[in-house]
């Protein structure tokens, strides 16, 4: 069911607000407001997230809603542009009078939302933003992405943990990434980890997102002969880097780390066997260690609708978490029997919650109390078939230990063959 804020809805909201303040109307729905990237660079993930949230609202309403009231989603397209956020959320709060807000997808649209929430003391749950609360330290901000309490560092910790356990232990590292928001953060974290794990940085450079040919970069990296190559890239450069690595014959002991795009079917099927051996971050993969209650059912329903919605057909990376971030908010409302922002924030801070992405517990800064960023290795990929990515054993979890489902093929060249 798609519920869009039509003109009628807006007018009726205003009318209700005018005549009905103070008088409780039992049938009035609980409104959850947010902006979401439905156009622009991150629209692919934004649309997938929206689909998940609509599924959540449907599920909740089927069970009688929250506090006996129906849940209604009120959302606008943020166009992946931070500049739209202040107007969108002010409209949601002042005109549409939403009861609860969550963020849109991505660091850059969460950043302008936090100060706005702070001005009004609202609780806000974020969807995949990196280190957003570092500067604000806002007590009512929560992040569903399972990075951990120290975001930029925890983001790539798994990669370095795995590397440090190998023998011979790698000694040098090349760090490379795109000139953009996410890679900037990821590379900063990787540098700290490299220092902590005693890896010498032999190459550290950025490239503009419009780079056409990656072979000169890969060759320059190869010339420094690093043991490990950490790449923080966006989808087109991810493909470019992987192609170039094969063409130039870059064969470090470990390769990958923070490549965006490998989480999704589009690149997985195109790159196929070239992915073998790459170690990369993930939030969820269909490995037996990660089959949390409800997730398989959710994914089945999601995948059935994915084609029609024009979103990633697998939906492992973002979809379950987009469901979960609404889910925790729902749990808090039910748990506190209230829409009071303070009570909801207190509830979210206080406990471990069961969601389709497993048990979620938030730390003091709103990030996950314990890091659960997965690092996986692509293994035994053959051809360009999509179905294989739904099976276990293709992206085995190496880290964290708790969820480990396989072992690293080391060095990279051995897995690549």
């Amino acid at each position: 069911m798609r519920k869009r804020p039509t003109f009628v809805a807006v007018v009726s909201a205003v009318i209700i607000a005018l005549i009905g303040t103070g008088v409780a109307v039992p049938a009035e729905p609980i409104k959850l407001g947010f902006g979401m990237a439905l156009t622009g660079a991150l629209a692919g993930n934004g649309k997938a997230a929206l689909l998940s949230m609509q599924m959540w609202a449907e599920d909740v309403n089927k069970k009688g809603g929250l506090l006996g009231r129906r849940v209604e989603l009120v959302y606008y397209d943020d166009q992946t542009k931070p500049a739209t956020i202040p107007a969108i959320y002010t409209k949601l709060l002042d005109v549409d009078k939403v009861d609860l807000i969550v963020s849109g997808y991505g660091t850059n649209v969460i950043a302008p939302l936090i100060p706005l929430a702070m001005e009004r003391n609202l609780t806000v749950v974020g969807l995949f933003g990196m280190a957003n609360n570092e500067k604000f330290n806002y007590g009512r901000y929560f992040q569903i992405m399972p990075v951990g309490p120290n975001p930029p560092v925890d983001w790539s910790r798994g990669f370095f943990e795995v590397a440090s356990k190998q023998s011979p232990k790698p000694a040098t590292i090349a760090i490379v990434g795109a000139d953009a928001e996410y890679p900037h953060n990821a590379m900063a974290g990787a540098r700290k980890n490299a220092e902590q794990y005693g890896l010498k940085v032999v190459y550290d450079n950025k490239y503009p997102p419009s780079t056409v040919d990656f072979t000169p970069i890969v060759r320059a990296i190869k010339a420094t002969n690093p043991d490990v190559v950490y790449v923080a890239s966006y989808p087109p450069d991810t493909a470019g880097m992987i192609f170039a690595a094969h063409e130039v014959g870059l064969a470090p002991k470990m390769f990958g780390g923070g490549m965006v795009g490998l989480q999704f079917a589009a690149l997985q099927t195109k790159l196929g066997a070239k992915l073998n051996g790459v170690v990369n971050y993930e939030t969820w993969v269909p490995e037996p260690t990660l089959s949390f209650p409800g997730i398989n059912d959710f994914l089945k329903r999601y995948q059935a609708q994915a084609a029609k919605a024009g979103v990633d057909p697998l939906g492992y990376y973002i979809a379950p978490f987009a469901y979960a971030y609404a889910q925790v908010l729902g749990l808090a409302v039910e748990g506190t029997k209230s829409l009071d922002q303070k009570k909801i924030a207190d509830y979210l801070h206080g406990r471990e919650m069961d969601t389709i992405v497993g048990k979620v517990k938030f730390g003091p800064n709103g990030e996950w109390a314990k890091p659960r960023m997965l690092h996986v290795q692509f293994q035994n990929i053959e051809g360009n078939d999509l179905e294989q990515f739904k099976r276990p054993g293709k992206r085995v979890v190496l880290y964290p230990e708790e969820w480990k489902s396989g072992t690293l093929i080391y060095p990279y060249a051995k897995a690549r063959k």
Binding site: K81, P86, A87, T90, N108, P112, P115, E119, K206
Partner: protein, 314 residues
């Protein structure tokens, strides 16, 4: 009478904006209004060079972002107050206009356009590599709590942008109706003839580029406090280039009122579309409207209205 009218309108708009901040409780209107006024400034600024002089600037985003980043630096370094940011943002962008104008304005207009396109990209690369302002990641700016007598800082920003819109419109009005504007129009019609008729074309073009760039920077300066996040991709967004060019085209390029009409119509339509249509159609509409206007109504809405009014009189 004719001289007094614009001043009267200007004072009227400012008073209305001030009264609005007293009466309207719905803060959404301030945010939406801020965006509309911001585009009034940008469209007016673009038109001083593009409409009056006939030189197409594709680099509005570069000038705008330079204003925004100048303000950002001032906030990070000195916590400078908003008026200082605006003046500084305007000055820095004006200097940029002078520089790029000096390099390319001797050539045919097209080279200037291409240079502005490249300029925005070069500037963006510099900002991306400048860690002090957060590089590619950008930097979060904390908005001051409130600015008395305004109830919230956003109301203050709204009022400031309204004032900037009025100032830029008055500047455009003055240019249009002075010897400067007549010289610029001569350049637009035929630059060679203008030069031979005694018009100091290079100096006037430079003047137009500087004023135009200055107002673009001015429009960008309050941006950090408005969004609270300054990062290169959104500060250099192509939106600013497209809109600042489309708005005068739609409104009409030869008068000061044209860009204002275009800015109000188009940015209101975009604001409404953002909260209703919510899809790529939004952008498609801008493209189609732009092409339709250039093809079918080259004088813009103002030209259409004038023609209709003229017909009635005749």
């Amino acid at each position: 009478m004719k001289k007094g009218l614009p001043l009267l309108i200007a004072v009227g708009v400012l008073l209305a904006a001030l009264v609005a901040t007293r009466l309207v409780g719905n803060r959404y209107l301030y945010f939406a209004g801020y965006v509309i006024f911001q585009y009034v400034v940008l469209a007016t600024a673009w038109n001083i060079l593009g409409g009056y002089t006939g030189y197409v600037n594709f680099g509005t985003a570069g000038f705008f972002a330079l204003g925004a980043y100048t303000a950002t630096v001032l906030i990070l370094a000195f916590k400078a107050p908003l008026p200082v940011q605006i003046v500084a943002g305007g000055l820095v962008s004006a200097v940029l206009g002078l520089g790029i104008g000096y390099l390319t304005l001797r050539l045919r207009g097209v080279f200037f356009s291409i240079a502005t396109l490249a300029l925005a990209l070069v500037l963006q690369t510099f900002v991306m590599n400048w860690e002090y302002v957060g590089g590619a990641k950008g930097v979060s700016i904390i908005r001051p709590a409130a600015f008395p007598p305004f109830a919230s800082y956003v109301e203050f920003l709204f009022f400031v942008m309204a004032a900037l819109a009025v100032v830029s419109a008055m500047a455009a009005w003055w240019i249009e109706n002075s010897w400067v504007g007549r010289g610029l129009a001569a350049i637009r019609d035929n630059e060679e003839a203008a030069e031979c008729m005694g018009v100091p074309t290079l100096r006037l073009k430079l003047l137009a580029t500087v004023v135009s760039g200055c107002f673009m920077g001015v429009a960008g300066a309050p941006f950090p406090y408005y969004v609270t996040l300054v990062e290169p991709v959104s500060a250099f967004s192509l939106d600013y280039a497209v809109n600042s060019l489309a708005m005068p085209m739609i409104g009409g390029t030869t008068t000061w009122i044209g860009p204002i009409v275009g800015a109000i119509l188009l940015s209101t339509a975009q604001q409404v579309a953002t909260v209703t249509i919510s899809s790529e159609l939004n952008l498609l509409i801008v493209g189609i409207v732009l092409v339709a206007f250039v093809l079918l109504a080259p004088q813009g809405i103002v030209g259409l209205v004038q023609r209709l009014a003229g017909r009635r009189r005749a």
